[in-house]
């Protein structure tokens, strides 16, 4: 679904029959993207609400769980995502200026950053699931106080970072899609709505991580890893 607003315009770069002007079409597409992003806010919002309530109820367990996060991987991933946001913003700029080659290059770098993020996330998941048996459910192992509450912490960790990673995956696909079309020379100063919209999506996913990072990695001052 995420790809739909830009996809509309991408399939048919010319003015669609039901719009009066190109400007109207662009405004509709960008507004549609923003409306879509607020549905995404509420989608993650449900999990943020759950996170907040359990953190309130199980304060100690949340501190405990946070100490088992891979602090350095999390920090590196934050930097990786911020870099990808820069290249994405630069790609939008390059499209607006009609610089086809640098658009494609920048989008390519964005994809690489995105994949790097997912790779690091996979390393973290591997550590949590395989090495430490921290995936919630019957296989969950935790030595220490309040195991079931720490398990709840990990439920939210996996749910929220998992849905975020899923969004990243979709984002990488979208960026690849527009990179292909940019390479084909479909966008330029006259028409860059799809690039702009995918950019909005990408930055939005970045913002979600900007919050996930402190909520999971930084709530305790003790970093065991």
């Amino acid at each position: 679904m995420a790809d739909s607003p830009p996809a509309i315009a991408t399939h048919n770069p010319d003015l669609q029959h039901h719009f009066a002007t190109m400007e109207q079409q662009t405004e509709a597409a960008v507004m549609g993207m923003w409306v879509f992003l607020i549905t995404e806010i509420m989608f993650f919002g449900g999990m943020f609400a759950g996170y907040m309530i359990y953190r309130f109820m199980y304060y100690q367990a949340w501190l405990e769980g946070s100490q088992h996060m891979d602090f350095w991987w999390g920090t590196i991933n934050t930097v990786v995502l911020l870099c990808s946001s820069l290249t994405m913003a630069a790609a939008v700029r390059a499209t607006q200026l009609g610089l086809r080659k640098s658009t494609v290059t920048l989008l390519g770098i964005t994809i690489l950053f995105g994949l790097a993020f997912l790779g690091i996330k996979a390393i973290e998941y591997y550590g949590h699931i395989v090495t430490d048996h921290q995936f919630p459910g019957p296989g969950f192992r935790f030595e220490g106080a309040n195991p079931s509450q720490v398990e709840m912490f990990f439920s939210f960790y996996f749910a929220m970072t998992g849905f975020h990673a899923l969004h990243m995956l979709i984002g990488v696909g979208l960026v690849a899609f527009i990179a292909y079309h940019a390479w084909k020379g479909r966008y330029g100063a006259h028409y860059y709505t799809p690039v702009e919209n995918v950019g909005l999506y990408w930055h939005f996913v970045d913002i979600i991580w900007i919050y996930l990072y402190p909520l999971f990695y930084l709530i305790s001052h003790i970093h065991r890893k």
């Binding site: 100690q60 309040n146 509450q149």
Partner: protein, 333 residues
């Protein structure tokens, strides 16, 4: 009212039911009046201004004054209804002190009651007229709801914590007890009777034999046999807090927060001991999740509660040792 086969009004059998009925009747009259006025207006307008040759509609834009009027007047009435409803609800949710406690465990699909005197019942609850009865409830599985229409009370029964309902029966008789929250296959079979008796009769019924002693005595037995008493000693030397007089008092926790030692706190401390550790103690207590049943848990809670029941001498507050105890005490004043 009317007959047993075709009643149109539920029996009133508690102090609260009259209050609920009063508000209900008030609302019936108020809303009935509004409703009928609107119906009459529709019918009158529809007939008087029916479409017919020669009759033309008069265009009216509307009027801000009128809109303002019928915004503010209903809003004002609504606030009155809200206050009245909230007043009744406040009473429903705040049980009086010195009530008689009945512990309740709901499970798919039955109600189990434990009287503090030690009596146990299933799907039947005997209570006396003229006493405040607190029903302290928990569920073994899914969410149920304790509903006695004659008392106009309903309270969901949640697994994992206590919820409390209370009533003060005013009329002897046998009344429906329903589970009002859908709880699976036999939801409609999770019903029972509340038998309200004259106090004397109730005493006779109570003395019908309670082989295991009172609930707090059962709890005391468990307290010994589960080894609780080795740490929670009745002096200041134990590895766990002394529980004498703790119940109902504020407790300062290790992380700086303060909680009240109510039924839910005692319950949580038995099942998840490390969640809210008393200030000055270490989280060394093992969990009793899965070791004690809900009924045993109730007995333990009743026992801890009984440790605070005896009136203690003035100035004697041996609740906690160390600064923590002192703090907890000052906050309480």
């Amino acid at each position: 009212m009317f007959s047993n086969t075709f009643p149109l009004w539920p029996t009133r059998a508690s102090t609260l039911s009259g209050q609920v009925d009063a508000l209900f009747i008030f609302l019936l009259m108020l809303c009935g009046l509004v409703c009928i006025s609107i119906f009459i207006a529709i019918v009158v307008f529809a007939i008087r201004y029916r479409r017919r040759p020669g009759h033309r509609a008069t265009q009216i834009e509307g009027s801000n004054a009128v809109e303002f009027t019928w915004t503010t007047i209903p809003a004002g009435i609504f606030v009155i209804i809200f206050v009245w409803g909230a007043y009744i609800y406040f009473q429903e949710r705040t049980p009086p002190k010195d009530s008689m406690d009945v512990y309740t465990v709901a499970k798919q699909w039955m109600w189990k009651f434990q009287h503090t005197e030690g009596q146990r019942e299933i799907n039947e609850l005997h209570v006396p007229i003229g006493r405040d009865v607190r029903v302290i409830m928990t569920s073994q599985d899914v969410i149920h709801s304790f509903y006695v229409p004659a008392f106009r009370i309903k309270q969901d029964v949640l697994p994992g914590r206590y919820t409390i309902a209370w009533f003060h029966a005013t009329r002897a008789g046998t009344y429906h007890l329903f589970c009002a929250e859908y709880c699976g296959t036999n939801h409609s079979g999770m019903i029972g009777d509340v038998v309200v008796m004259e106090p004397a009769q109730f005493q006779t019924w109570l003395s019908g034999g309670q082989p295991m002693g009172s609930l707090s005595q059962q709890g005391q037995g468990l307290f010994q046999s589960l080894g609780c008493s080795t740490c929670h000693r009745l002096d200041t030397q134990g590895r766990g807090p002394n529980l004498m007089g703790v119940f109902g008092k504020p407790v300062l926790l290790e992380d700086g927060r303060t909680v009240t030692a109510d039924e839910n706190y005692v319950r949580e401390s038995i099942l998840s001991p490390a969640a809210k550790v008393v200030s000055g103690f270490k989280p060394i207590m093992p969990t009793f999740q899965g070791i004690v049943s809900e009924e045993q848990l109730n007995a333990l809670v009743a026992y801890v509660k009984s440790l605070s029941a005896q009136p203690t001498g003035a100035g004697q507050t041996p609740t906690f040792r160390g600064p923590a105890g002192a703090k907890a005490d000052t906050r309480q004043r």
